[in-house]
């Protein structure tokens, strides 16, 4: 570890990509790391997508600007393993086996559950079908096109599960959104903090850690998860195998998976995301209990889409989504 710190300090710089400062507490994760190790972090295209991260690895390969580490969705991670270097952090054994590649070529880092955030002016929402009512005219939004954005695909899947569908067949979810559109309640604007503040997207499907008042930027914001529906999604870390700062990249990973009070795992938790080592940290009492208590309550058995289920859903959406809501 000491050798790694020394080598990383010598490199002096770390290139990360697509880490918005307001997303899952990345702002303070970045500044804590910089302060602790005296290494400068360059965050390229903070609002980029996972695919753009991988594209940058390819197009900037061999330059000093190339990203050292990636924080990407699972579909993109699995499709691009040839670009990554395997690495096992020192807390490797505390990461559940299902959430890492056996050789450490990708490791899930943090995630959450699909949830519905809404303005508290609507009172308390207790069921999905309430959203079909007339008081929600033009108010219900996703945060992207479900054929392109993972969060939006999972939003449709969450509705699908709540409507009696299975993870293998997303049709019920698409049908529900067609009803939402017919009721005039579907709002196709991509929900952002700005649209929420302007009051144009009052009800937003997104991961629970992106549906926090602190993230969306309004205080009167509540979260609802249909009872018994726990659709989870985790992002993964991967190291560019041709990283211009290989030691800093590995030190960053050690920091992100550290269970220290100001380590990456607890910092993510403070940002409302669920760190991958949370079960182990709950047992060994290193978890920030105050932050953990603030997470929305999730009931039911957690469901995580497999690669095949996610691909089937994407293909179904490609053929049917525009027809249902266009």
């Amino acid at each position: 570890m000491n050798a790694l710190v020394a080598a990383a300090k010598k490199e002096g710089t770390l290139n990360i990509i697509a880490c918005p400062p307001t997303w899952a507490n990345y702002g303070s994760i970045i500044s804590t790391f910089e302060k602790k190790y005296g290494i400068t972090i360059n965050d390229a295209i903070p609002d980029g997508t996972s695919q753009q991260e991988v594209d940058a690895v390819k197009s900037e390969n061999g330059t000093a600007k190339a990203p050292d580490v990636l924080d990407i969705g699972m579909a993109v991670a699995l499709a691009n393993t040839s670009l990554f270097a395997p690495y096992e952090v020192s807390t490797w054994s505390d990461i559940p086996a299902a959430q890492k590649a056996p050789n450490g070529i990708w490791v899930q880092d943090y995630g959450g559950y699909m949830a519905i955030g809404y303005s508290s002016k609507y009172g308390t929402i207790t069921s999905l079908n309430q959203l079909l009512g007339p008081q929600f005219k033009g108010a219900v939004a996703l945060n992207g096109n479900p054929t392109a954005a993972n969060a939006a695909l999972n939003a449709v899947m969450m509705v699908n599960l709540a409507q009696g569908g299975t993870a293998g067949n997303i049709a019920n979810g698409v049908n529900w959104f067609a009803k939402l559109k017919a009721a005039g309640n579907f709002n196709p604007v991509s929900a952002t903090g700005a649209t929420i503040k302007a009051g144009t997207t009052q009800i937003v499907f997104n991961w629970d850690y992106l549906n926090l008042p602190s993230y969306v930027g309004v205080t009167n914001w509540k979260v609802f998860v249909p009872s018994g529906i726990a659709l989870g999604g985790y992002y993964a870390q991967a190291i560019n195998k041709n990283a211009p700062h290989p030691a800093a990249a590995r030190l960053w990973e050690e920091f992100l998976y550290s269970q220290a009070a100001t380590g990456g795992q607890n910092l993510w938790l403070q940002g409302g995301a669920r760190p991958v080592e949370q079960p182990a940290m709950t047992s060994n009492s290193s978890i920030d209990t105050a932050a953990a208590a603030k997470l929305p309550t999730i009931s039911g058995t957690p469901v995580f889409l497999t690669q095949a289920q996610s691909t089937d859903a994407a293909n179904y959406l490609a053929a049917n989504w525009a027809k249902a809501v266009g």
């Binding site: 997508t49 996972s50 695919q51 753009q52 990407i72 969705g73 579909a75 993109v76 499709a79 005219k137 033009g138 108010a139 939004a141 996703l142 992207g144 096109n145 479900p146 054929t147 392109a148 954005a149 993972n150 939006a152 695909l153 005039g184 579907f186 709002n187 196709p188 604007v189 991509s190 700005a194 649209t195 302007a198 009051g199 144009t200 009052q202 996610s310 691909t311 859903a313 994407a314 293909n315 490609a318 053929a319 989504w321 525009a322 809501v325 266009g326």
Partner: protein
């Protein structure tokens, strides 16, 4: 041409005349290099990659994708939006341009109008879509237009916001080109106002009008940021689907599909340009 003219008239030999071969074409190098690097080369990449598989082998069968109803839908969407916004923009812009041009050529109104049009024609993207969303969207400050999210009406309205000023800018010079003597001449010969426009003004302005409409059409075809900010949960037009094909994180990203769609847009522009050239030839026949 210049060199030939110099020698033919027997004028004093210029410096260019003494070194005949180089200067004549060297001057065109920057232009052709520019065109090659920024137009021909990228177009070539698009065409080649559109006919390949993701693994790099030739796949001319990709072209059959144009028969896929989903893919056709994106092109029909683009066509609808471009036609609506360019024709509306052209008609209203032309009327406005005429109204402004018939005023005092050095007047304050005209200068103000041109300046404002110059700004508005460049307004677009997130700011414009957001402005309309806040004004007439679901919780509109002005009112709630129930058709705001209906394609192509809501986005068509937003596009006219920059199409009309652009039309004013590009069409104004053509109206200025109408000589007042022509009008006087036709009136002296007993022509009515309708006859003047039908036989003199109209035919004179038609090529410029069609050309400007084409410019507006292309302007709407390539616009992406505005429609993406209007809505981005459904792909209605080709550029939106190109974006999905380039950046999908749920396994639908396919660069070759993006290239194929771009090829379709190139073909679309080529058809419009050809149609325009044929129209222009017909409209301009009397000029020859």
């Amino acid at each position: 041409m210049a060199v030939a003219a110099t020698t033919k008239t027997g004028a004093r030999p210029s410096r260019a005349g003494r070194r005949p071969s180089a200067p004549a074409w060297v001057g065109t190098v920057p232009f052709f290099a520019y065109v090659a690097i920024f137009l021909i080369w990228p177009t070539g990449i698009v065409v080649v990659d559109a006919l390949k598989n993701p693994n790099g082998t030739w796949a001319f069968s990709n072209l059959s994708e144009f028969g896929n109803p989903l893919v056709r839908g994106y092109f029909i969407g683009s066509l609808k939006l471009c036609l609506i916004s360019s024709v509306t923009g052209a008609v209203f812009g032309a009327i406005l341009a005429y109204a402004v041009a018939s005023g005092d050529p050095d007047g304050l109104i005209r200068r103000l109008y041109i300046a404002v049009s110059g700004v508005l024609a460049q307004t677009g993207g997130v700011t414009l879509a957001f402005a309309f969303l806040v004004l007439i969207g679901p919780v509109g400050l002005l009112f709630h237009a129930s058709w705001y999210f209906e394609f192509p009406w809501g986005i068509g309205l937003i596009y006219t916001y920059f199409q009309i000023p652009l039309m004013v800018l590009v069409f104004m010079p053509a109206i200025d080109g109408l000589k007042v003597q022509w009008r006087e001449a036709s009136e002296n010969l007993g022509a009515s106002s309708w006859q003047y426009w039908r036989h003199v003004g109209g035919p004179l302005l038609l090529p410029a009008f069609l050309g400007a409409t084409l410019l507006l059409f292309a302007n709407a075809l390539s616009a992406f940021a505005t429609i993406q900010a209007w809505e981005n949960q459904i792909a209605y037009v080709v550029p939106q689907q190109i974006s999905t094909a380039l950046s999908s994180e749920v396994g639908l990203s396919n660069v070759n599909e993006a290239d194929l769609l771009a090829l379709g847009m190139i073909i679309m522009v080529a058809i419009v340009m050809t149609g325009y050239a044929l129209l222009l030839r017909r409209a301009a026949r009397w000029l020859r």
